[in-house]
Amino acid sequence: MTLTAPPTHPPIPWTRVCALDDILPGTGVCALIGGQQVAVFRLGGRVYATGNRDPYTGANVLSRGLTGSYTVSGETRVKVASPLLKHAFDLESGLSLDDPRLSVPVYATRTEGGDVWTGSLA
C-alpha cells in the first residue's frame, strides 16, 4: 500500500439541523447533510460540529462520544472522545490528540431562534 491522499471532505450547505432542545447539554447528535454524516455537539453553552467518522476505526460514531475539556499550554479547549477506542479530537480544530497526523473535518455552527444550523465556511 502506498501513501494515499487524505480523504476529501466536500463542503456542506448551511442547513437547519434540529432544535437546540433536541440535544441534551454535554452530548451530541448526528445529522445527515447532503449525504455527509455530521456530528453536532452542545457543550459549555456553545455548539460544535465535526465529521461523524472516527478515522481510527472507520466507524460513524463520533456523535456518540463523550465530550469534555482539556488544558494545553494553559489554554482550555474542548474535545470529544470516540466511543470505540477513546481516541480524542479537538472540537474546534478537528485534530486528533493522540496523533496530529489524523483529523476529522470541522464545520461552522450557529443557533438562531432556538434552532441549530451548521454548514461549511464559505
Partner: protein, 845 residues
C-alpha cells in the same frame, strides 16, 4: 419454683480462661449461670502474645479483662492460687475458702520449662512468661551489659527482642542446628538467622548449656557449653519451651498424659464427668497446643458443652477436632509463616524452595505427588501466606509449576514472564521503551501513548501502562497522584466519599463544588457510576445520560462498526424453551448474529441503534429484561446444575445463582462484576475465577472473593466457609458495597483486594467483625439498591424523550450506510472498513 442457679468455676484467668468467660456469657446470663474465676496472677487476663510490647514507650495496655467488666457481666473473681480440688465433693480450696461447684474448668495454662542445669536458680536468671517476669527482667537489665536467651524458638526470639529493646548486647543460644526448629527447616532457619544477626543479635547454634556460671555473690556471669566454650552474660532468660500446668489436676486424680497435660476428649471433657480443661494445660489426641488460637477453639467448644451438661443451653454438642498449626507472625520485625506440612514429611512429597541471601528471604512449598500443595514456609516476606494457606487447605490441584507460587512478581504488576515484557502487543512496545520514555519526562498515560504508541491500538494494555507509570515514578522518587483526571484532584474513593457525605445528586453539583473545566471521558462516567451506586436513579435519565459511555447511554454494547449487541438477562443461565424461541424469533426478525457467551447467556449482535427499543419491547414481552452486559455492573452469576440434577452435587447451586443474580442485578460498580456458583468441589461454574464465587460444601457454602480471568488471571481467595444461603447473601452485600465504595476507577476486585492494605484479613475485619462500624451502612445501601432496582430497558422504551435519542439521524429516517454486512457461516458479520488506521503514514514510494 426456684431451682438453684448452677455454679461454674474456672481455674485460671489467662487468655483462654478469659475467652471462656466471654463465650459462656454469650449463651448464659448471670441469672442462668453463676460464674467464678480463680486468678493467680495479681493482674486479670492480658494479651500474652504481645508480651514484649510491655517494654515499649508508651507502654500499651495489654489487659483483656477488668474488674469493672467482670462485675458488669456477673463474674466473681477470687484472687489466689487454687490449693486443692475434691472431685467427689465438687469443691475447690482457694485463698482459705471452699468453693462448691456444679462444673469445673481447668484453664491453668503452662509454665516455662527450665532445663536442669546447675546455676539455673542464680540471681540474674529469669523466665519469660508473665508481666511480672518482664518487670523483673527490666529491673535486672539496669545494671547489666549483656543478656543471653536459652532457646531459639518462637518464645526465645520474642525474649531476645525484649532484651534488645532494653539495650542489652543480646545472644540467642539454641541446642538445635538452626533457629525455630519446631517450625522451620535448615534453610529457613538460616534466612532468619541472617536477618536477626543483621540486627545485632548474636546467634549461637548447636550449643548445649552445661551450667550457668556464677560469681562469689551468686550472680550470673555467663554460660558454659559442652565442649568447653563459654559465653559471658549478665543475665540469662530461659525460654526453652513450655510444660502444661497439670499439678492441681494430677493431685485431684484426673488422668494426665505421660509427659504432662490433662487428658481431654473432643468435647474438652476430662476423665471426671463434671470437669473440663482448655488451653495449654490440656492434652488432646496426644498433643498440647502452645498457641492461642487452638485454645480459643477449645474455649468455644467447652462453653457449649458445659452449658449443655448444666441444662442451661439447648444446643447440639460441640467438638474440638484438633487444630491446624499454621502460623504467620512477626518476630523481631521478621515475618515468618509456616503452614501445613512445612517440613515435607509426607511420603512422596516434593519440595521447591527459593532463597535470597541478601534480602534474607526464604520460601518453600511442599507439593504432593498428585500436584497439590501440602504446606510450606515463608521467611522474610509472607505476602503470599494467605494464598498458599488457602491452596493448602483446599487441596486445589495446581495447574502451574509449583515454583511459580514462590517467585516474586515483576514490577508493573503485569502478568509477564520475561524481564523486558511486551506490554503493548498491538504496537509492539516493550517495558524498557516505556521506562525510557518515563525517564525522558513522560508523566501521564497520554504522553506515554504519544511517545511510544503503546495503548493506541486496542487499549487493553492501558491499565498496565498506569501501573508501570506509577511504579516507575515511585522508583524515580516522584510524587504519584491517583487523581481521577485533570478535572478532579481526587481519587475515585475520595470523590465517592465526598459525593456521599455532601449528598450531591447531579454532575453539575459535583463539578461546581469539586471539579474544574467541562469534565472528560474519564471523570464523567466515573461520577455517573458513583451517582448511580449512591442514588440508584436511571442512568439514562436526562440529568445522567450525558455522563454515560455509549454503552450505558444506549443500554447495549457498541461493536466495531458502531452497531450494538443486545444481551437479555438469563439468571443463573437457566432458560425455558419458550425463552429460547422468543430470543430466536427476535434475532431472526432483526437479522442479528447469535453467539452463546461464556457467561451462560445469548448475545445478539449487529443491532442498529434505532432498532434497539423495538427489540427490547419484544424481549420484555417474552419476560426478559436488561442483562447489563454493557454496564460496569453485575454481569452474570454462572452456575452448574448442582444437586438438583448432578450425581455429584451437594447443594442447589442454580437456585443460589438465580437468587444472587436477581439481588445484585443493576448494581453500578467501579468495574464489571462476574460471579459463579458451583454445586460441589469439582467447580464446574469456575467460581474461583470470578469477582465473587460460591462453592458448595457438605455443610453449606464457601465464599471466595477477588478472582479474575482475563489478562491477569487470579484465583479467588476463601473469605468464609460453610455458610448458609442467608449468611452468603449478608456477606456478599457488604463485600460488594465496600468494593463499590473504596475501589479505584476501573479496578477489578482482584487488584482492589491486592492493593487493600491488610488484604483479606482487613476485609474480614471490616465486613465480618465490623471493625470500622460500617456494616449497618453497607447493609442499608445494598437494601436501598435492591429496593429501587428497575429494568432500564423497560424504563427507556416507555419514555418517548429517551426513545427519541435512539434515532440514527436527528434530521432523517435514513440508516448509517457505513454499516455493511457480509455472510460468514450462515450469519452476518461486519464488512472490513477500508482505509483504517494505522495507515502507512510515512515512507512508501
Amino acid at each position: 419454683m426456684s431451682t438453684p442457679i448452677p455454679h461454674l468455676v474456672i481455674v485460671g484467668n489467662g487468655m483462654v480462661g478469659h475467652r471462656l468467660t466471654e463465650q459462656l456469657r454469650q449463651h448464659a446470663a448471670p441469672d442462668a449461670l453463676r460464674l467464678t474465676v480463680i486468678s493467680e496472677e495479681s493482674r486479670l487476663a492480658y494479651d500474652r502474645v504481645h508480651l514484649s510490647s510491655h517494654l515499649d514507650d508508651p507502654r500499651p495496655d495489654l489487659s483483656l479483662a477488668t474488674d469493672a467488666g467482670y462485675r458488669d457481666s456477673g463474674v466473681t473473681v477470687v484472687q489466689g492460687r487454687a490449693d486443692a480440688v475434691d472431685l467427689t465433693a465438687k469443691t475447690v480450696q482457694v485463698a482459705g475458702q471452699t468453693l462448691a461447684y456444679d462444673a469445673l474448668v481447668f484453664a491453668t495454662g503452662s509454665f516455662p520449662f527450665v532445663p536442669p542445669v546447675p546455676g539455673r536458680d542464680a540471681r540474674g536468671c529469669f523466665v519469660y512468661r508473665t508481666l511480672d517476669d518482664l518487670d523483673a527482667i527490666r529491673e535486672a537489665a539496669r545494671g547489666a551489659r549483656s543478656g543471653a536467651v536459652i532457646g531459639g524458638g518462637l518464645l526465645g526470639l520474642e525474649a531476645a527482642g525484649a532484651l534488645r529493646k532494653l539495650g542489652l548486647e543480646t545472644h540467642v543460644v539454641e541446642f538445635a542446628p538452626h533457629l525455630m526448629p519446631a517450625q522451620l527447616d535448615a534453610e529457613g532457619g538460616a534466612a532468619l538467622r541472617h536477618t536477626i544477626e543483621g540486627m545485632g543479635i548474636a546467634v549461637h547454634l548447636s550449643r548445649n548449656t552445661r551450667q550457668v556460671s556464677v560469681d562469689a555473690q551468686g550472680r550470673v556471669t555467663g554460660l558454659d557449653f559442652e565442649g568447653g566454650t563459654r559465653l559471658d552474660a549478665d543475665l540469662v532468660v530461659f525460654s526453652a519451651g513450655i510444660r502444661p500446668r497439670d499439678d492441681l489436676a494430677r493431685a485431684a486424680g484426673l488422668s494426665v498424659g505421660e509427659r504432662g497435660g490433662i487428658l481431654i476428649d473432643d468435647a474438652c471433657h476430662t476423665s471426671d464427668p463434671h470437669t473440663y480443661a482448655v488451653g495449654e494445660c490440656a492434652l488432646h489426641d496426644g498433643r498440647v497446643y502452645g498457641l492461642v488460637a487452638p485454645g480459643y477453639q477449645m474455649a468455644k467448644v467447652a462453653a457449649v458443652n458445659v452449658l449443655r451438661d448444666l441444662g442451661v443451653l439447648d444446643a447440639p454438642p460441640a467438638h474440638f477436632r484438633g487444630a491446624d498449626l499454621s502460623t504467620k507472625l512477626k518476630l523481631l520485625g521478621v515475618e515468618v509463616g509456616s503452614f501445613g506440612d512445612a517440613r515435607g514429611v509426607t511420603p512422596g512429597a516434593r519440595s521447591v524452595s527459593l532463597s535470597d541471601n541478601v534480602r534474607g528471604t526464604y520460601s518453600k512449598v511442599v507439593v504432593s505427588e498428585d500436584g497439590r500443595v501440602l504446606g510450606g514456609l515463608l521467611v522474610g516476606d509472607t505476602a503470599r501466606y494467605a494464598d498458599l494457606l488457602d491452596l493448602t487447605m483446599t487441596g486445589t490441584p495446581l495447574c502451574v509449576p509449583p515454583e511459580t507460587l514462590i517467585v516474586p512478581p515483576l514490577p508493573g504488576g503485569a502478568a509477564t514472564t520475561s524481564a523486558d515484557a511486551l506490554l503493548c502487543s498491538c504496537e509492539n512496545v516493550r517495558q524498557s521503551a516505556l521506562c525510557a520514555a518515563i525517564g525522558e519526562g513522560a508523566r501521564d498515560v497520554a504522553s506515554l501513548k504519544k511517545c511510544t504508541g503503546a495503548g493506541t491500538g486496542c487499549g487493553g494494555c492501558v491499565p498496565s501502562l498506569h501501573g508501570l507509570l506509577q511504579t516507575e515514578l515511585r522508583r524515580l522518587g516522584e510524587t504519584v497522584t491517583n487523581h481521577l483526571c485533570e478535572h478532579y484532584p481526587y481519587s475515585r474513593q475520595e470523590l465517592f466519599d465526598v459525593i456521599r457525605v455532601r449528598g450531591h445528586a447531579t454532575w453539575d453539583e459535583v463539578l461546581a463544588a469539586h471539579g474544574s473545566g467541562l469534565g472528560c471521558e474519564i471523570c464523567k462516567p466515573a461520577v455517573g457510576s458513583i451517582l448511580a451506586s449512591l442514588h440508584g436513579e436511571l442512568v439514562v435519565a436526562p440529568q445522567h445520560a450525558p455522563l454515560q459511555d455509549t454503552n450505558d447511554a444506549f443500554l447495549a454494547n457498541i461493536q466495531k462498526n458502531g452497531t450494538y449487541s443486545v444481551m437479555p438477562r438469563v439468571p443463573g443461565g437457566e432458560i425455558t424453551a419458550e425463552g429460547l424461541i422468543a430470543i430466536g424469533a427476535v434475532a431472526k426478525r432483526y437479522g442479528l448474529y447469535c453467539k452463546i457467551t461464556g457467561g451462560q447467556r445469548i448475545d445478539l449482535l449487529g443491532a442498529h441503534r434505532d432498532d434497539l427499543p423495538a427489540i427490547w419491547e419484544e424481549l420484555i414481552a417474552a419476560g426478559f429484561e436488561s442483562g447489563h452486559a454493557y454496564g460496569k455492573s453485575l454481569r452474570t452469576v454462572k452456575s452448574c446444575v448442582g444437586s438438583t440434577w448432578c450425581r455429584y452435587g451437594v447443594q442447589d447451586s442454580t437456585s443460589l445463582a438465580v437468587r444472587l443474580e436477581l439481588r445484585y442485578r443493576g448494581l453500578r460498580s467501579p468495574h464489571k462484576l462476574k460471579s459463579g456458583v458451583s454445586g460441589c468441589t469439582r467447580e464446574c461454574a469456575e467460581a474461583r475465577s470470578k469477582d465473587f464465587g460460591i462453592i458448595a460444601t457438605e455443610k453449606g457454602w464457601n465464599v471466595y472473593v477477588g478472582g479474575n480471568g482475563g489478562v491477569t488471571p487470579k484465583h479467588a481467595l476463601l473469605l468464609a466457609s460453610d455458610l448458609s444461603e442467608d449468611e452468603v447473601v449478608t456477606l456478599l452485600d457488604r463485600y460488594l458495597m465496600f468494593y463499590v465504595r473504596t475501589a479505584d476507577r476501573l479496578q477489578r476486585t482482584s487488584t482492589w483486594l491486592e492493593n487493600l492494605e491488610g488484604g483479606l484479613d482487613y476485609l474480614c475485619g471490616v465486613i465480618i467483625d465490623d471493625r470500622l462500624g460500617l456494616c449497618a451502612e453497607l447493609d442499608g445501601e445494598m437494601a436501598r439498591h435492591v429496593g429501587t432496582y428497575r429494568d432500564e430497558w423497560a424504563a427507556a422504551v416507555n419514555d418517548p424523550a429517551i426513545r427519541a435519542r435512539f434515532r440514527t439521524f436527528v434530521n432523517s429516517d435514513a440508516r448509517d450506510e457505513g454499516v455493511q454486512w457480509v455472510d460468514e457461516r450462515g450469519q452476518i458479520r461486519p464488512a472490513d472498513a477500508p482505509h483504517l488506521y494505522p495507515l502507512p503514514m510515512l515512507g512508501g514510494d
